[in-house]
């Protein structure tokens, strides 16, 4: 079963996809389907982007039987891609050379440029789930990309907030945080900081200093600096508790078809860990109300992350 279903109570679209249930989980290295020549990639590779074998959205979705007026549905149009960061099974953003992450930024840019050509695509969302705590089914370093035929609910709330705010909230946050202890990477073109309003313990946002909306607007120097910022943040995460730190990395670009110039490109890292051992769960309050309770004061998280060692 593949279709989109509208929830009239919350006015949000749900993706029904029984295909995703078939995904394999955490295989041993010998059986890793993402390693060169095993299953997904028939030969060696540097980086790849490919259609998910178990997609929730596809450009040729199956036909649906139309529902009545209460239960609105739609074909699962869109694209679900897997993006391989490297052929090195044991690597990660935190351990990859800068050049490899830089190439990944170019791949994200290329995927954005490619997918925005499809008129019915409204939002392109690259992300990475790292660690079993956030449901990663493969340890081989990779991310995914969803190209939605609608504006997802949280993106809509960002758009609504942009409409209400005079100017650009991210540009103002950058100005307000300049020189504070909350900044953990202070780059030429990007900064990474623990936001004042962090929802998750050790949440980090990466903002472009220039008001840009897409990967496709970045200069080569900005792409490089973004790669550095990602390396610094993930490297600091790993040294925070001296283990592979799980996180959800979400990349927010402007909607497409049409685009929104006033949308400020940014990346959020939402790590579930509250300390070395315990996880902050998305429990009733967070899931039911979207109100987050952060058990760690963001400035304390920033202090720890600022102190954490990193490798470039």
């Amino acid at each position: 079963m593949m279709e989109l279903r509208h929830n009239p109570i919350t006015d949000e679209w749900i993706i029904i996809s029984s295909e995703t249930q078939k995904r394999p989980v955490l295989p041993q290295k010998e059986a890793c389907p993402l390693c060169p020549g095993v299953l997904e990639m028939k030969h060696d590779y540097d980086l790849t982007a490919f259609d998910n074998r178990y997609p929730a959205l596809r450009l040729d979705p199956p036909e649906i039987s139309r529902s009545d007026s209460v239960f609105e549905n739609a074909p699962s149009y869109g694209k679900c891609e897997v993006i391989m960061f490297t052929s090195d099974h044991n690597s990660s953003l935190s351990r990859m050379p800068i050049g490899q992450i830089e190439k990944l930024v170019y791949v994200w840019e290329d995927r954005t440029r490619d997918l925005m050509k499809h008129e019915k695509i409204k939002y392109i969302f690259p992300f990475e789930n790292r660690g079993k705590e956030v449901g990663a089914s493969q340890i081989h370093p990779h991310g995914q990309l969803y190209a939605f035929p609608f504006i997802p609910k949280r993106i809509q709330s960002m758009i609504d907030a942009i409409g209400k705010y005079k100017g650009c909230a991210i540009c103002d946050v950058i100005k307000a945080e300049e020189g504070t202890e909350n900044i953990i990477y202070d780059g030429e073109h990007f900064i990474a900081l623990v936001p004042y309003f962090a929802r998750f313990p050790y949440e980090v946002h990466v903002y472009s200093r220039r008001h840009i909306s897409f990967f496709t607007e970045m200069t080569n120097s900005e792409k490089f600096d973004l790669a550095v910022a990602l390396k610094v943040v993930t490297s600091k995460y790993d040294s925070l508790f001296d283990n592979e730190f799980p996180y959800m990395m979400e990349i927010f670009q402007s909607p497409v078809n049409p685009t929104m110039k006033n949308f400020h490109f940014h990346i959020e890292f939402n790590p579930p860990k509250r300390d070395k051992v315990n996880v902050k769960w998305m429990a009733s309050v967070e899931t039911g109300t979207w109100a987050f309770i952060n058990p760690l004061t963001p400035s304390d998280a920033a202090k720890s992350l600022k102190k954490a060692s990193y490798t470039i």
Binding site: A49, S91, R95, M96, G99, E102, Y106, E188, N220, S309
Partner: protein
């Protein structure tokens, strides 16, 4: 250059030196190549010591090279240092021809002034060198054995070239030497060794503690090497002292269980006056004319004698030691104080010191087979083909020690030699000596530590670390890990002057890099644009200072004892190949440019 009194020109030339007739066959090959043959023209066997084949006037400053690993390779004004050299006139550590220091400054194997380079392409039979005195350089060769009546031997070939760029000439020299010798070389290794943390205070327990810590800190060393301090005595290599009660095989097995190559230090041609081998086998030692064993050097508060490697019994003994060590499971052999095998003296066979040395090296190479040999304290040219890697500078130190440039431990001069001898990477993997990641128990400043750790990585030689692993902070470990991303490149060292060097590195893991190393006590201002001809042009290029990752302006200032590492970046041209899976799914392959050198295989450390 004059050869036997006549200006250098191609053709055949003969000269008479004492009992010797010397034939020179001179051809033009990127300069002049001079093949040398010597003949005892008498009816009696004659001992051949040193002789001169030519001389040339040089400019005030020359590039001087010492024959062995620890000795300096640097620019000097000989007239300023000649007096300080006199003290070396009885020291084999400094030279196989120490008597020459009485009235000159010696550069072994090669030398250059501001326009002419002269270098010998091998040292398989004799020891070739240059002797500066009064503004003149004599081209000399030391034989050190009897030639039979009318015996003719072909010896080392000399190459002479007028140059405009010394760096290019050194690279060409390295290639010529490489093709005149058989090279044994394997890739650079990353390892840990005990010397610069424990020195002689190493014990079985402490090395096992360190071994256990390697997994705790997540460093994937390829080699784990026990240095000096385990042996019962210098020469008694298979017997351990009381600090190693379970012996050497026990340790190698422990190391191998941790998935590393077990490494061990020896000084195979050195025999201490208190060792069992000295007590029972004085016949194994190099002697003077009166049959008295010659003291090669003093260390460990002991007199150290030289193994006579021309003696078949001594060679058998040597082979048995290394066969035993290999049998125990050792796969990495750091062989040290090798110059001892090449001291002048009376040996079992009438061979030159160089020939004797190479007989000893060959025996070790045969015994250890296809394992890794790291030479140290070694006559450089004579060792080619017997070592996979070679120390090319003095011992480093946890302090700068920038005053005495005489081969004694020094962080400064160890790195200086790594820079000036970088071209020798064509003969083996250069070992610039250990890096020390520690921020405690060191007198190196943070910027001096950056030089100590990052320059070896940039030069892509051996990377051996020597720290108490339990005392490394997170920052120390990350500093070391960061350096790994500067390896795997090809570096050219530009010799700005004796204390300032630019290193242009291409295709390192972190891409193309230019580094400016300031070993001097003064600030150095550099204009990056001046170095433009050494970079490959990039579209939309920019320069980023590491580790601040800020854009580098054209003019940068480098503090004394500091390095500026600058990443040279530009537009990435990813190639994209589109394929269709059998089930109709799209797959896009993206490839980084070949020239950029960024490996997809990250260092998982």
């Amino acid at each position: 250059m004059n050869l036997f009194g006549k200006p250098l020109d191609y053709g055949v030339r003969k000269g008479k030196v004492g009992y010797l007739e010397v034939s020179l066959s001179i051809t033009q090959k990127d300069g002049y190549e001079i093949e040398i043959e010597i003949e005892n023209t008498t009816e009696d066997p004659k001992f051949m010591g040193d002789f001169k084949i030519g001389d040339f006037e040089v400019s005030e400053k020359i590039l001087m090279n010492n024959y062995q690993s620890w000795g300096p390779c640097t620019f000097v004004k000989p007239s300023e240092i000649i007096k300080s050299m006199h003290g070396l006139s009885a020291n084999f550590f400094a030279s196989p021809v120490p008597w020459e220091f009485k009235d000159g400054v010696i550069s072994d194997y090669f030398m250059a002034d501001d326009k002419t380079f002269a270098g010998f392409l091998s040292s398989k039979v004799t020891h070739p060198y240059f002797k500066w005195h009064d503004g003149i350089v004599d081209v000399k060769i030391y034989v050190g054995k009897h030639l039979k009546p009318h015996e003719k031997i072909k010896i080392e070939t000399l190459w002479v070239k007028d140059f405009s760029k010394l760096e290019e000439t050194l690279e060409l020299y390295a290639k010529k030497v490489a093709s005149s010798n058989t090279i044994k070389k394997s890739g650079p290794l990353f390892g840990w060794e005990s010397w610069y943390s424990y020195y002689l205070n190493i014990s079985q327990d402490s090395i096992i503690d360190e071994l256990n810590r390697t997994s705790e800190i997540g460093m994937k060393y390829e080699v784990f090497q026990l240095d000096d301090g385990y042996e019962k005595d210098i020469g008694d290599w298979l017997e351990t002292n009381e600090k190693f009660p379970e012996g050497l095989e026990f340790l190698s097995k422990k190391i191998k269980k941790s998935n590393m190559m077990a490494g061990i230090w020896t000084a195979p041609f050195s025999i201490s006056e208190t060792s069992s081998i000295f007590k029972y086998h004085k016949d194994f030692l190099v002697k003077d004319e009166n049959g008295i064993p010659i003291v090669a050097y003093e260390n460990w508060n002991k007199k150290i004698y030289a193994l006579d490697t021309s003696n078949p019994d001594a060679r058998f003994w040597l082979g048995e030691i290394f066969s035993a060590l290999k049998g125990y499971g050792y796969e990495f052999f750091k062989i040290d104080f090798l110059f001892t095998g090449m001291i002048s003296g009376k040996r079992f066979l009438d061979v030159t010191p160089v020939e004797a040395y190479r007989m000893g090296m060959e025996k070790i190479a045969d015994a250890v087979g296809n394992t890794h040999v790291l030479g140290c304290g070694a006559p450089l040219l004579s060792s080619i083909g017997y070592v996979d890697s070679m120390r090319i500078g003095c011992d480093t130190a946890p302090e700068w020690k920038g005053e005495l440039d005489m081969g004694m431990p020094s962080a400064k001069f160890s790195i200086r030699n790594a820079l000036t001898r970088n071209f020798m990477n064509a003969w083996w993997v250069n070992d610039p000596d250990c890096v020390m990641a520690r921020s405690s128990e060191t007198n190196l400043t943070n910027s001096e530590r950056m030089i100590n750790i990052y320059i070896p990585a940039l030069l892509n030689g051996q990377l051996l670390e020597s720290d108490f692993l339990g005392k490394l902070s997170d920052d120390d470990l990350h500093l070391l890990r960061g350096s790994f991303n500067f390896r795997n490149g090809t570096s050219k060292v530009l010799l700005s002057d004796k204390e300032r060097y630019a290193v242009v590195t291409k295709k390192a893991i972190n891409g193309d890099i230019v580094s400016f190393v300031n070993l001097s006590d003064f600030e150095w201002k550099v204009e990056i644009e001046r170095y433009r001809p050494f970079f490959d042009k990039k579209t939309d290029e920019f320069f980023v200072l590491y580790p601040s990752m800020k854009h580098a302006k054209n003019e940068i200032k480098i503090d004394p004892h500091a390095v500026a590492i600058i990443m040279h970046r530009g537009k990435r041209n990813l190639r994209r190949d589109d394929e269709k899976e059998d089930d109709g799914r799209d797959i896009h392959y993206y490839w980084g440019e070949e020239y950029d050198g960024t490996s997809t295989q990250s260092h998982n450390r």
